[in-house]
């Protein structure tokens, strides 16, 4: 077991290395650099820029150095905890991400809980009442959430929330509460504003989850031990919940790998539409303007989280299911 963990741990390193090269090249490849974007943006609003100043800034930030040198200094910095400097905000990257992390994670957690709370009962009902009217209607409802493009749904909901409930447009709380210490008013405002993003993002995820719970549960329910239990007179609810349901939760653990990075940055599109102060829009903006370190370091951070998440889920699965632990080469 320990050997397995150590082996996987070391396997992480080349993965992350390749990921870092990939990320760096993806950001560097498009022609131009941050300063060109900056200049173009200023000129679009009519402001003039001293071109010499730009050249000077370029040199200051090391853009005259060759590509590989910049890559290595970036990686070296990250290994020391220095995630670099954002050109756009002129602040260290860690400060920028850190300030938004709290709200992002809060939103993600609430969304995940929402998804589970909605998906579990529906999934179980669907599995136990297969092909019934209820099964079809719930699947239908779940799928509608998935099928509607998020950005449009968010916009429409935002408008109606304003018209019907007076919720201020966009953001995660009423503007007066920003930068204020937590209070009941602030808490209420955040809760009110969180409804739209949670519902929009959540409905997209519930459909998939319902389907998987349904499929896995159906597989389990066909097994011998369930029939035996029913035959022996176990009440239906207990029959479903005590064993089959728990068995079908295997895939959950497998999912931790992808949940972890999503907690830290996800739902970029909805966050942009609703102007939420989460990390998603920050990342998109950084990529569009080629803010090298902000985009690169953040992506790297997410990559690390994914790899760690996958490792955790693999270990958890290995602990739970010895069959996976012992999988080997084909027998010849």
């Amino acid at each position: 077991m320990l050997r397995y963990i150590i082996f996987r741990f070391f396997a992480m390193i080349p993965t992350l290395l390749i990921a870092s090269v990939l990320i760096f090249s993806i950001i560097e490849l498009p022609p131009g650099d941050y300063f060109e974007t900056y200049v173009a943006e200023l000129q679009a609003s009519g402001e003039t820029v001293d071109p010499q100043k730009i050249e000077y800034l370029r040199k200051e930030y090391g853009f005259d150095k060759p590509v590989w040198q910049r890559y290595f200094s970036w990686v070296w910095g990250m290994l020391h905890g220095d995630f670099g400097y954002s050109f756009e905000y002129e602040r260290p990257v860690s400060e920028l991400i850190g300030s938004r992390l709290m709200l992002t994670m809060l939103l993600s957690f609430v969304t995940i809980i929402f998804t589970w709370v909605v998906a579990f009962p529906i999934g179980i009902y669907s599995a136990t009442h297969k092909y019934s009217f209820g099964d079809y209607s719930f699947t239908f409802l779940g799928l509608i959430g998935l099928a509607t493009p998020n950005f449009l749904l968010a916009l429409v909901m935002m408008y109606f929330a304003k018209v019907w409930f007076g919720t201020s447009i966009g953001g995660l709380m009423d503007p007066v509460y920003i930068d204020q210490p937590m209070s009941w008013g602030k808490f209420g405002s955040i809760a009110e504003h969180m409804v739209i993003p949670v519902v929009v993002i959540g409905t997209a995820g519930t459909a998939a989850m319902i389907r998987r719970i349904r499929a896995n549960l159906l597989d389990e329910l066909k097994k011998q031990y369930v029939i035996t239990a029913r035959a022996k007179g176990l009440p239906p609810t207990r029959t479903v919940l005590k064993y089959p349901f728990r068995m079908s939760l295997n895939f959950f653990i497998a999912d931790i790998g992808s949940i972890l990075p999503n907690i830290v940055s996800g739902a970029e599109v909805v966050a942009i539409v609703l102007s939420l102060e989460t990390t998603g829009p920050l990342l998109i903006r950084a990529l569009k303007s080629q803010d090298m370190y902000l985009a690169g370091s953040f992506l790297m951070f997410l990559a690390v989280l994914t790899v760690i998440g996958v490792l955790i889920s693999d270990i958890a699965l290995a602990i739970l299911d010895p069959r996976i632990r012992l999988q080997g080469k084909p027998e010849k």
Binding site: A11, P14, T15, I18, A19, L22, I23, I26, I27, L29, P30, Y136, F140, L143, I144, L146, A147, T148, P149, N150, F151, L152, L155, V156, Y159, R211, G257, S258, P261, N262, S265, G266, E268, V269, V273, L283, I284, L287, K288, A295, L299, L302, A303, V304, T306, V307, V310, Q327, K329, P330, E331
Partner: protein, 392 residues
């Protein structure tokens, strides 16, 4: 020793053997239905099971209908794609009526009168019940070239000169939304297919190799998948779309986008193929094939894959909606298709505006075919998946 029970060689046996005609089915007579069932090929069984899943069956029919429509888009759309109507900007949908003064006269529309509200700077439209334009079929309208090759001007339905047929209203340049949705369907529905084809091919080949060989091949592939999955999809799309050369024509950009979408989705397919192969390769028939000297590619392609092809198709069908939604998301981020190319993503993006939600809500209607198509693909995929294992 002379054994009296065994006759001499060549002579008939001593026990009773009937010389009557032998009918193998005489013991167990099969009814015609049973016969059909037991002798049916795998494909037929899948088809029958699929049909039983009513919702999936109807979904498949709806999708077929959509694809037929886009094949003849130019003919079915009342107006040509770029046709603008200066006088009818932001016009709401026109209702089709059938009864005039209580009598059935066939489908017609009322004339539209436009007035300008100079206070709100809004265009107002009212129906003039005095003048009606009957809707004709197979009539002459805008000129077009079917598939860009065959010139014609016949349309499935239209109104006579001077009349307007805006079934779903017009947009800010006075273009008919219904026609644009039909033309847009062409791009949106085919992007999904091509993207899925790309991810299909990649997923099967890479996943197949990993699953079959196992060992270090498998390890490398798994690492690769891990790397790709560790980078969130939207930023990756953004980055890839930004790399696409600017000089490409819209058609090339379109293909570029389908490839991007396909490239990022093959990992799921590869994983599924790999895990299935890992279990299936232990089967006896694989060992038999190996012993007979078949090459690995032949074994994978000819023996293993067909075994779960139906599962793959089912997964692929469910991936198509992701591609369609991905295209709309890319348009939203400003990186997908852009005007003058028309797709549902472009149409929805143009509707992404508070003015539209409040004042011109009919422009949000393209979301309806999007939802219908995605639901249809999902249900059809569900049905296929259930049907894919007919021996259950």
């Amino acid at each position: 020793m002379n054994d009296s029970s065994l006759p001499r060689p060549g002579k008939p046996l001593g026990h009773y053997v009937s010389t009557a005609e032998f009918d193998p089915y005489s013991v167990e007579q099969l009814t015609p239905e049973q016969e059909k069932y037991f002798f049916a090929s795998q494909r037929q069984l899948i088809w029958w099971k699929f049909k039983k899943h009513r919702v999936a069956y109807w979904s498949a029919l709806i999708l077929l209908f959509f694809y037929v429509v886009i094949a003849f888009a130019e003919f079915i759309a009342p107006y040509e794609l770029t046709r603008r109507h200066q006088e009818y900007i932001y016009a709401p949908p026109q209702g089709v009526h059938f009864f005039k003064d209580g009598e059935f006269v066939g489908p017609f529309v009322y004339q539209r009168i436009r007035t300008l509200d100079m206070d709100l700077l809004k265009r107002k439209y009212a129906a003039n019940e005095a003048k009606t334009y009957p809707i004709g079929f197979f009539c002459d309208g805008d000129e077009y070239k079917l598939w860009g090759l065959i010139p014609s001007s016949k349309h499935l339905f239209c109104v006579r000169d001077g009349g307007t047929l805006f079934l779903l209203g017009t947009d800010r340049l006075g273009r008919d939304l219904f026609s644009r949705i039909i033309y847009g369907a062409r791009i949106s529905l085919t992007i999904g297919l091509i993207g899925v084809a790309v991810s299909f091919i990649l997923g099967i080949s890479i996943g197949g190799l990993a699953g079959y060989y196992g060992g270090w091949v498998d390890n490398i592939v798994q690492r690769m998948i891990e790397v790709l999955q560790s980078i969130p999809s939207i930023p990756l799309w953004l980055a890839l779309a930004a790399i696409m050369p600017v000089t490409w024509s819209p058609l090339l950009v379109y293909f570029g986008i389908t490839i991007i979408l396909g490239l990022l989705d093959w990992t799921g397919m590869a994983r599924a193929v790999r895990s299935k192969l890992l279990s299936l390769r232990e089967e006896d028939y694989v060992m038999a094939a190996q012993l007979m000297g078949a090459r690995p590619s032949r074994i994978i392609a000819r023996h293993l894959i067909p075994g779960f092809m139906s599962h793959l198709i089912a997964s692929a069908t469910i991936t198509i909606p992701t591609m369609i939604l991905g295209e709309t998301a890319l348009s939203f981020l400003g990186l997908g298709l852009r005007p003058p190319v028309t797709s549902w993503g472009v149409l929805l993006n143009e509707a992404q505006n508070i003015s539209v939600v409040v004042l011109y809500p009919w422009l949000i209607l393209p979301v309806v075919p999007v939802i219908v198509v995605i639901l249809a693909f999902n249900f059809m995929g569900d049905g296929l998946r259930d049907a894919a294992d007919p021996y259950q």
